[in-house]
Each structure stands twice: as structure tokens, then as C-alpha cells.
Symmetry: C2
């Protein structure tokens, strides 16, 4: 029986399993759902064991390093929520080692009233499965169980052609607060030649594609202060520096006329798009009108000159003001010069920008542009996240593209994601390249009411996963993975 | 008996009268004090009658025009609070007519805990009289009663050398909401050749001075909108217009490098400072260090190039951002492109700028600088207020300067006020020039706890008022006042 036939023959059982898992409300952001997150981890571990994984473990997170599994904390400190680890060694000890990343926690479900059926009572609706987590990310994690079984059935082997490891975390929807720590703690057991991420989307049902990178992120706040109290603008207006004016001048200078970010050295490390990537991006059937509608009815595009909209959101770094405030913001006038002005900014970063360099450049930018009489402070919300990137000509991406191409019977194009996730930590801490194999769609309404997944795409995902291990084994990744520090 | 001796001889009685008036808590902004505002008006009318004014009247405000004294309103509409009008015709029917303006309402008194003595139990403290309204403006209104009596005593006449009218309003501290309406209604009875305003300050106890103008004001709000909801900055960042960026660019462009406001035609109507004014301003003993301390510890001056700090706050128009907000302003980061951005602005205007012209220029400025994809609206808080101006070489100002000079025995310099008041309405509606005769000090803590007035300065004010009517009569104002439309 070939992989496709196996997948089709076992589809019903697969969807019933998925519905059972989706019924567990594993909302990691809701403290009242901690038991459900654990139940979800236990359900998955049991499912993986049943699939045939010889090793399945629940991994606690937020633990005291070196402690005997004791949960950290005590007063005030909240321990993390459990991840699931599984391993299935290849028959051949020299085969590549592949780590699959995904997550079993889900987003909150508010506003509940907008759901057509209860979020944790999964329902089939014309080829779609509705329910929180159907696409993000339980459906995409679970297709790997069907995929590995299909691969074994098709090949007649007892073990996969690569050593398969799974790490399915339980805090992704809460910002993965303990994930990097977990990766460092378990680096030895997680060691691998390639990381397969199944938590993104394809271009569309008709245009299968692979994500080849996610942007990084740095969050900052700028606070400017002038006088030690609000001043009467009649008595003092026109003669002392106004922090709000200083802020507008500072932030208006954040981009030049070409829409480029003016921080010193901002583009120095940016890895340029290759001509091949630009050509492939341009093949995507992008409809700007539709995109503008999805962009909250935006009336125009605007960004860095010389790049298309897709290049701007996927492959170019940005600076955005996310919030700004100062002075009188209530009804009516109040003729003051305010004592302070504030702005929150975020920078989306691309490979190979270092968030620490960008942070230093922002400090430099602010201090060099703060006028006399104004004091500025710049603070950052954590160290930021690096971008992740997976070059389209790497052996692992080429293997993934072949696997998806076989499953879909179509040419596979490339996309990226403009947002950020824990993928950069995976690549960096484990020192292995990323390959994004996923079948979600942007129309899946993840994080929103009525999240759904296309059921036939999940089956295509399972089939692609079945081929993927063969393709990766054939690519001989063990020898080509670049060593990282 | 000369005027000075009369003032000194009657000082004790004057201060006891003033204390009685100060004990009436005529806070116009406090609806619970409406009876007290009326009581204050009645007290003043009685006092003026006792001084000898043949005509003393309580004038209602906020009335239905043409009504028989019936107070406007009914459901929802609040009638105004009473003004006091008094008139004392000159013996000579061809003598100039002078209108004295002041107000009998006072500021609120919070925070009460900071007063050294209760705000409505006036207390003498080393030559100062403490109490709400002592300087702003009851003390400065009342010195006119002592002044006119002193003038009569010194001259031995039964009537003042000018026809003296007083209009003492009861809503100045509430923004004079019905004052222009009152001026229009009573234009005939208020007709005059010169308006004497006693509601400002002198440079210092040692440097007597006259205010020669107050700035006008226009309040505006700018609202920019982009997408119809906040957008995820990962998915859309770098590719659509961000209203906060548009706002910073717009407002950063409000001034050029020389600190000049860039609104079209903004300076076209501005009446330049004369060389004489600049020379006289420069004679004021201005200590920038002290001024910066008073400016909330501002660390530097900043403003329009080519002008001193005093010129900037008194005689040059400004644009200040009073408040600004948009997007995420709470704790922590939120990576959004906000749907909207807002700013409140105020423009301080000088003679002869028309607030309506500035409003039109702001609309033009905003619409010409709003980038594609952003929609802008500009709204104004009322029509704005014109600046008032009293040229230093006018006969009335020269007469005032002589009167003050005689009282103080010193050279009288000139100042202006950066803030705005109802004075422009007075000049414009009544078509008469303004003369500012006042003895308040910037250190009088008006509008703040522990308001005080220097008692000897009130006596100097009374003495100057005694001389003022002679000086104005001698100046022959009735024939020199410029006719106005």
C-alpha cells in the first residue's frame, strides 16, 4: 500500500483522534486551564506511544536547573507548562536526525458568542474541521503520526528512515517563556541535523508553498522628559522645549524618504533576498486589492522603496510605532506644554540582524537626536528575537520541497512569515537548519473565533510527512548540516 | 490733601473692606458657589455706591436677548453669573469716557491642605494679604474705589475728570463664556474712549511696568485614521501606512529649523515688535536661570530664532502640541499598527493674526501633508481668541505710564502677557484701545494655594488710578481714539 492510500484508508480514524484532542481546552494563557494543558500533553504522549514511538516523555518546563524534576517557584514564580518529547530511532544508526517542532497549547476563545459551534466541540462542516487548535497547531502536529505510519506502511520497514524526534511545546501561545531554557537544558537529547517546523501556512489550497523564514523582533519604549511639571502654554509656550515636539521630530526621522529605517548600521547585517527568491515570490498569485482589504481596509500600500509588498512584510526589516502618548488626551483643550512624551516601538528583523545591535543603534539614534533640554531614556522588553531563515537552496529545504511536491502533485513555491516565533531559538540553540512543512492557510482564522482547518490539506500534510523522511534520508543531511557555534 | 496722603490715611479702612470682600467665596467654576458669586457682586455694587458712583447695577449674563431681564435657560441651559456695572459721569460732558475692566469671581482653592491660612479668611502676613482673590482680581478692582476717592480729595472736585465706567465680570475664571454676548448687548452703555484693564502683573516690586498686550489662542485637534482596526505588525508591518508615523511626520514639520511655524501665511499678518519695544523689553532685568527654574526646571530655552525668551513668550506666535495619543499605551509591548492617531494643538497668536486664518492654514497644512492611505480631520474648539495689543506710543498708554510713574517715582517699563483673556473682545466689541494698569506680581501665586498680594502695591495702584483720570483727561482721548468698525 502506498503512502497516499494508507493516509486515505486511515483518514477517518485520524480525524476522530484529532477531534478527541481538540476537545481538550489547552489554553496556556488561562491559569484555570493548566490541568487541561497537562491533559493535552498526556493525550499526545499516549497517542505517540500508540503510533509506535519507543520513547515518549512529558517534559516539565520552568524547572530549577539541576533539580530533581522539582518545579521551580514558590512564592510568586509560576512554573511552566509541559512539553511532549518523543523519539523513534532510525534502523540505520548513520541516518540523519530530524526534530519536529510544534505546540499543543491553543489560543483563548473569546469572544465566545461569535463561534458557530463551541470551540472545544470540534465539528465537521463541508470538508473543514472547526475548533480551537484545528489548524494552530494540533492538526498540524497530529498529521505527523499519520505520516510516519503511512511511510512505514509504504516501505514495509519497522522504523523510519531518519531518527525522528518530536518536541511539542505547551506554551507557544503564551510567548514560549520557558522554551529557550528547555532547549538549552535538553540540548543533548534534542541534537539533530534538521528541524522541521509544522506551525505555519501555505499560500493557498491551490498553491502549495513552504515558509522559508520568520522575522525577528525587538520591542522598545522611548520616554522623553522636559520640565518637571506640565507648563502653562501661555506663560511658557514658544520658549522651552516641548517633549511632544521632540518626540515627533525624533520619530519622524526614523525613516528616510525612501522608506528606509535610519538607525545607524540597520541594514549592514541584513541578508539580501536572492534573485531566485524574488523570482519565486513574484510567481505567487498576489492580489493587492484583496490584501489591502485584509489589511483592515488600508487604502494604500506604503513601505521601503524598491521592494514589493510581499518582500516588505516577509524579508525586509521594519520600524513601527505601536503606541504614543503624552500631555492632555481627554476631552476638550488644555493649553499645556507636557512634562513628558512616550512611544512604544517594535522592529521586525530579518536574517542576520542581531537584536542587540539594533538596540544599541536605537540608543545611539535617540541620544544623537534628542534636543538640548530634553532627557531621553530607551528601554527594551527583553533581548528581542532573531529572525529565522531557511535558504531555499539548502539540501533540507530541497528535500522538503520534493516531499510536498509529491503530495500535492504541483510545483511548490516559497513564502515567509512576517511575524516571529520561537523558531530562531530552535535553530540557534540546537545548531540545525529549519524546514517549514505546514498546510495551514491564512484563512484558517487562527487566534479568532471559528478557527478551522481544511481536512484534505491535513491529509496532504500527512502524505508529505511520509515522503519527507525518505527525502531527508536520501539527502544525506548528517554530513551536510553546517556546524554552528 | 494730596492723593498719596489720602491713600495712606485711608489704607486701613481700604484693607478691612477688601478683607470683607475676600471672605466671600465667589468661585465661578463651582456650581455650589453661585450664591456666593452673586453675594460678591452685591457687595461690590454697594461698595461702589458708597464710594459715590451715582449708577451701580447688577447685570445678569446668559440672558435671553430682548427678554425683560428674564434669565435664559430652563432645561439644561445654565444662565451666567452676574457682572457689576457702575458709572460716574464727569463734570465736563466733553471729557473722555473710560471703562475699567476687572472681575470679582475667583479661582477654586484646591488643594486646601496647602494653604497656610484658610483661603476665605484673609490674613495679613508681613505686609502681604493672603487669601483667594487678593491679587486676582478683587484687590486690583478695589484699588479703583480708593483711587477715585483720592483723586477727588486731592482735586477738591465732586466728580472725576473723566466719565468713569466699571464693568466687573463674574465669570472670568470660568473662561468668560457670556462676556462677549454681554458686551454686544450693552454696547451702548459701555461705549468709551479707552478701556483700563486691571487684571495683570508688573515685572517686579522694584520694576513697575505696564502690560501692552496678551496673546490670542486657537485650539485644534487632528485625528488621523488608517486601517479600520489595529493590524498585526508582523503580518502587515512595513507595508501599510501607520497613522502614528504619519502624525509624527506631520507634526515634526510644524516648525522649521529656525523654530518658525510652517503653516502657510502664518506670519503674514503678525504685527512686528517695534525697535522701541524691543529696547524697552531688553531693559527688564531678566534672569534666564531663574526663569528656567520657574519653567518647571526646564534645562534649556528653545524657540524662534532671532528673538529673546521674553519676545518669544510675549510677542511671537507659537504652535504647541498639548497632547498626543494613539495605539497601545498600556504596560508591555503590543506589536500593532494602530488604526488611528490623535493630537491636540494650541496656537498662541499675536496682533493682528486672525484665528480664522490660522484655522484655515492648519487645515491646508494637514491636508497637503497627509500621506496616501491616511485620512485626516481637523477640528477646532470654538473660533479662537484674537490677541490684544496696546501700542506703547498711544496717548492712552502714555497717560497710563505717566500715572504709574508718578505713583512709583520710577521709570515704567513694558511687558506683555503670553496667555489670553477676554481683553481682545473688549477692545474689538467696544472699539476702544486698551491700557493695562495693574500691580499684581508673577509671584502672587494666583490660581495656586496661598495667593497673596503686596499691600503696598495695592496702595500704589490706588494712587496711580487717582492720577490716571487726570492724565487721561489731559490727553484729550475723546478726540484721539481711533474709530473702529
Amino acid at each position: 500500500m502506498d503512502a497516499r492510500s494508507y493516509v486515505e484508508a486511515n483518514a477517518r480514524r485520524f480525524f476522530e483522534d484529532l477531534k478527541a484532542w481538540l476537545a481538550i481546552p489547552s489554553i496556556s494563557a488561562d491559569p484555570a486551564r493548566r490541568d487541561d494543558v497537562r491533559k493535552s500533553a498526556e493525550w499526545l504522549a499516549a497517542q505517540l506511544q500508540q503510533t509506535g514511538f519507543p520513547v515518549t516523555e512529558i517534559w516539565e518546563t520552568g524547572e530549577v536547573p539541576g533539580g530533581m524534576g522539582e518545579v521551580a517557584g514558590g512564592a510568586g514564580e509560576v512554573a511552566g507548562q509541559p512539553a511532549v518529547f518523543a523519539e523513534w530511532p532510525a534502523g540505520d544508526a548513520s541516518a540523519p536526525v530530524v526534530l519536529v517542532y510544534g505546540h499543543h497549547d491553543v489560543q483563548p476563545v473569546e469572544p465566545l458568542g461569535e463561534w458557530r459551534s463551541p470551540p472545544f466541540e470540534p465539528a465537521e462542516e463541508g470538508g473543514r474541521l472547526l475548533g480551537r487548535g484545528a489548524s494552530d497547531d494540533k492538526g498540524q502536529v497530529l498529521f505527523h503520526t499519520l505520516g510516519v505510519s503511512a511511510g512505514l506502511a509504504a516501505s514495509g520497514r519497522a522504523a523510519p528512515p531518519v531518527t525522528l524526534k518530536l518536541l511539542i511545546e505547551g506554551e507557544e501561545e503564551s510567548g514560549s517563556p520557558h522554551f529557550a531554557e528547555l532547549l538549552r537544558r535538553e540540548r543533548a537529547r534534542l541534537s539533530c541535523d534538521v528541524i522541521v517546523v509544522s506551525d505555519t501556512t501555505m499560500w493557498s489550497e491551490e498553491v502549495p508553498s513552504m515558509c522559508t523564514g520568520m522575522r525577528g523582533l525587538l520591542d522598545a519604549q522611548i520616554d522623553l522628559t522636559g520640565p518637571d511639571r506640565d507648563l502653562h502654554s501661555g506663560s511658557f509656550g514658544g520658549a522651552v522645549p516641548n517633549p511632544l515636539h521632540a518626540l515627533t521630530a525624533l520619530l519622524a526621522g526614523l525613516h528616510d524618504e525612501a522608506g528606509r529605517v535610519t538607525l545607524p548600521r540597520f541594514y549592514d547585517a541584513v541578508r539580501p533576498l536572492t534573485e531566485a527568491e524574488r523570482t519565486l515570490f513574484a510567481q505567487l498569485p498576489f492580489d493587492e486589492k484583496v490584501w489591502l482589504t485584509e489589511a483592515g481596509g488600508s487604502r494604500a500600500t506604503r513601505g521601503e522603496q524598491g521592494f514589493t509588498t510581499l518582500e516588505r512584510i516577509w524579508a525586509r526589516p521594519t520600524a513601527e510605532i505601536n503606541g504614543m502618548w503624552g500631555g492632555h488626551t481627554g476631552p476638550g483643550p488644555k493649553t499645556i506644554i507636557p512634562r513628558a512624551a512616550h512611544a512604544k516601538l517594535s522592529f521586525r528583523l530579518v536574517a542576520d540582524q542581531d537584536p542587540a545591535d539594533v538596540a544599541a543603534a536605537l540608543r545611539e539614534f535617540v541620544s544623537s537626536r534628542t534636543p538640548p533640554g530634553i532627557e531621553a531614556t530607551v528601554t527594551f522588553d527583553g533581548p528581542g528575537a532573531r529572525a529565522s531563515h531557511s535558504p531555499i537552496d539548502s539540501p533540507a529545504v530541497r528535500a522538503g520541497r520534493r516531499a510536498l511536491g509529491r503530495a500535492f502533485g504541483r510545483d511548490v513555491l516559497f513564502t515567509r512569515e512576517g511575524g516571529s516565533g520561537p523558531e530562531a531559538d530552535l535553530a540557534e540553540i540546537l545548531g540545525a537548519p529549519l524546514v517549514f512543512i505546514a498546510v495551514g492557510l491564512d484563512s484558517d482564522r487562527i487566534h479568532a473565533p471559528n478557527e478551522k482547518v481544511e481536512m484534505d490539506l491535513l491529509l496532504k500534510g500527512a502524505e508529505a510527512a511520509a515522503y519527507l523522511w525518505e527525502e531527508l534520508a536520501a539527502a544525506g543531511l548528517g554530513s551536510t548540516a553546517e556546524p554552528r557555534p
